[in-house]
Amino acid sequence: MERTLTNFIHALRSSDVRVSTAETLDAFNAVELVGYEDRGALKRSLALVLPKTADEKETFDLCFDQFFKFTDIRGDRDGGDAEEAANESSEDAADGQDGEGGAGGDNPPTRGTADATGKRKSKSKSKGKKAQTTAPEDADPEEEDLGPGKMSKPSSELAKLLMNDSKVELSIATAQAGEAVGVRDIQVFTQKGLYTRRIMEQMGLADLNREISDLRGSRRIPQRRLGQNLRQRREWLREQVRDYVERQFLLHADADGRRLREELLRKVKLSNVEQRNFRLIQDVVFKMAKRLAALHSRRKKVFKRGQLNLPRTLRHNMSYDGAIFDLHWKSVKIDRPKVFAICDVSGSVANYARFMLMFLYSLEEVMPKVRSFAFSSDLAEVTELFERNKIEDAIAKTLRDYAGGSTDYGQAFVDFKKHCLDDVDNRTTIIILGDARNNYGDPRTDILKEMYDRCKRLIWLNPEPRNSWYVGDAEMRKYTAYSHQVEECNSLMHLERIVGNLLKTVQ
């Protein structure tokens, strides 16, 4: 029982719901109160204790439905599934049997079935609810029709289990075999077949195969009948196990796999990100931004300024005999940083611009004043576009409207000066993202110098690796002179580090 709940919490954790140990204990208390009988009540109670944000609640819903997949405690919805299983099994029964029947002969008898019975009792309550269908009763149409009638007794453990018609015991056995072969460690979907086979073997497939082939070779009708029946049931069992593995995969591996991919995406060069990964990378950006925001939103305040807090000052100075000695101030928030982001959106740099803008705008909570500009030759402000649209749409529009055309940094600086150089003050941080490849045009470093003099910091981010900065038409050498900081920036990790530093210095 307890094992079920901890397994469920493990599954939740692997789908990114943060569950602490304390919350696990709460969950146990809640379950003790509510019990496992009513699935709805169980779900509602756990939903209060485990997930703690609206997002997490959604994940929780999915996870719960997958994990506690038991609508029939009393076994009502048998019909449909049983038939499906019967139909499918009849199709591939023939070829499946020949291969495995022969190999089954020299396999050793299974262990685990004996001690399985011992553990069974403790788990029966929860796992029992997972039981799904009975074995099909109808005879296989393609087989010789032996008709209903007497069947001989099955001999192997698994066969007995199958003929018992006990879904509960079968699914317990499945779960235990699953535990024994470590199905929870499943990593990628190609392993599904492997684990299905391992679980079947653990449950005693070899014995069963041998028995079936013996029985079918027999001349006595009751034994042949049993053999046929067992074969159908074996296929049905295979189906069940496959289902079980599938569920385990969704619960455990899918999330782990995603985390692996995310980890890779953080390091990959942004220009190499494929279109299909954009959604995932967006999630990564939001996650990183959220973490940065949480990290930095805590130190927005300074205390040594603002109005005198009279009551507090008096109170704290009572120990100095009322002499006003230790002053206390009403806290006042300092101005949040202003960030001007100037992005080269010409072909080569567009992807970097996309993700940097995404990053900056995801940080709204701690950096509410981002003004952004895009250029390839002419520069324009796109701040409003971002205010009115969702980030993804705004970025798409920006790229559509401003990308293309040959890069002209000189012209862009002239435009910037015309539009908003006056708004740059000593609290402003200017971030320029670009490869500084100016097609041998006039670099207009004079304007960059002006910007440099006016602003608090000017950061130049270059997506190219450092060793190609000074090659060809790149003007990096000239621009470096007028930047407070130049950085190579071509992966999400770089971005995170830079934006993190930015937040540290501007506050």
């Binding site: 943060r18 304390a22 009540a41 109670s45 209060l48 204790v49 609206a54 949480a294 009551p311």
Partner: protein, 316 residues
């Protein structure tokens, strides 16, 4: 309204009983909400309620107080709220006054004392009297702990307070106690209070706080539930009109608005329509009363242009 002494045992026996009882107090709720109160009562855990404004977060605390016939102590959070306003404050005026009095009677106290050491020890007899509970002004959190028969503590809009304040709450929420350096630790007198925290999600509440609470998210109700809420709150309104107006509100929630109407707005609107003796929704009438449900001119203009279609859809 609540009986003189509600049968707590019976009310809290099951989730269903709680739900019925809440409904008897005109708070129509989903199973999820009733379960939350049930768990909070039995596990003695605070509930952190989140959700869009106007779905009845604060109301739940009030109704629960009503239902259990317990006093409701409310702490409204805002930026800059500190321990002096939330937990306790020294009555420093009184302290100063008493110091003055003591100064004047100092001669009597010290009469006959030989030497400095004895004087000091006599003064020590006064002990830390200036820092005793006599001089303590309890604020909501402390009051909640001191309530004899237990109480409902509502910490409203906790997201509006500062991060530091959240940390202050932690001791209270996990152990139902408060530490005052000069006095020591104050524990709940009898029953620890039942704590409700509400948040509008203007910022993320810290994990530490969330971990100590049950987390209840109240979304907008579905059609049927909202109709029942209106029925409970504005019973005079005819069923047909009730159906129409709730449907209309649901249509509005589907639009892209700056602020979508919440349940409280639906109730207000129902009252307005009742006052105007309305029998069925008409575009002109809706246009005239739109400012009851929409609070931004921009939204009103947006909706105005589609009013006829929206109304006809609601009438279906």
């Amino acid at each position: 309204m609540a009986d003189a002494a509600p049968d707590l045992q019976k009310i809290t026996e099951s989730v269903e009983n709680l739900k019925t009882e809440l409904e008897a107090h005109r708070y129509i709720c989903s199973d999820q909400i009733a379960t939350a109160v049930y768990l909070a009562y039995h596990l003695r855990k605070p509930i952190l309620i989140e959700g869009p404004p106007g779905v009845g977060k604060t109301e739940l605390a009030k109704t629960t107080a009503d239902m259990f016939a317990l006093p409701l102590i409310r702490l409204q959070c805002y930026e800059g709220l500190d321990e002096a306003k939330a937990i306790y404050e020294w009555k420093y005026g009184k302290q100063l006054l008493y110091t003055q009095v003591l100064k004047e009677t100092l001669d009597e106290v010290l009469q006959g004392a030989k030497g400095f050491a004895e004087s000091v020890s006599r003064l020590h007899e006064f002990g830390d009297i200036f820092f005793s509970e006599e001089f303590l002004e309890p604020r909501p959190l402390m009051k909640a702990l001191q309530a004899e028969a237990g109480c409902i503590l509502l910490i409203d809009e906790v997201d509006k307070s500062d991060h530091e304040f959240e940390s202050l709450l932690l001791e209270m929420l996990s152990d139902y106690q408060l530490s005052i350096p000069e006095i020591g630790t104050l524990k709940a007198v009898n029953e620890p209070p039942l704590v409700f925290l509400t948040s509008n999600n203007t910022r993320e509440i810290s994990d530490a706080l969330k971990r100590r609470c049950l987390h209840l998210y109240i979304p907008f109700p579905d059609l049927e539930l909202e109709q029942r809420i209106i029925h409970a709150r504005v019973p005079e309104i005819p069923p047909e009109l009730r159906r129409q107006l709730v449907k209309f509100i649901h249509e509005l929630r589907g639009l892209d608005l700056k602020k979508v109407p919440a349940i409280s707005e639906t109730i207000d609107w129902a009252r307005t329509l009742l006052l105007l003796h309305t029998e069925t929704l008409e575009p002109q009438l809706v246009r005239d009363t739109l400012n009851v449900i929409l609070k931004f001119q921009e939204d009103i203009e947006n909706v105005n242009s589609e009013l006829t279609t929206l109304t006809s859809q609601a009438l279906k």
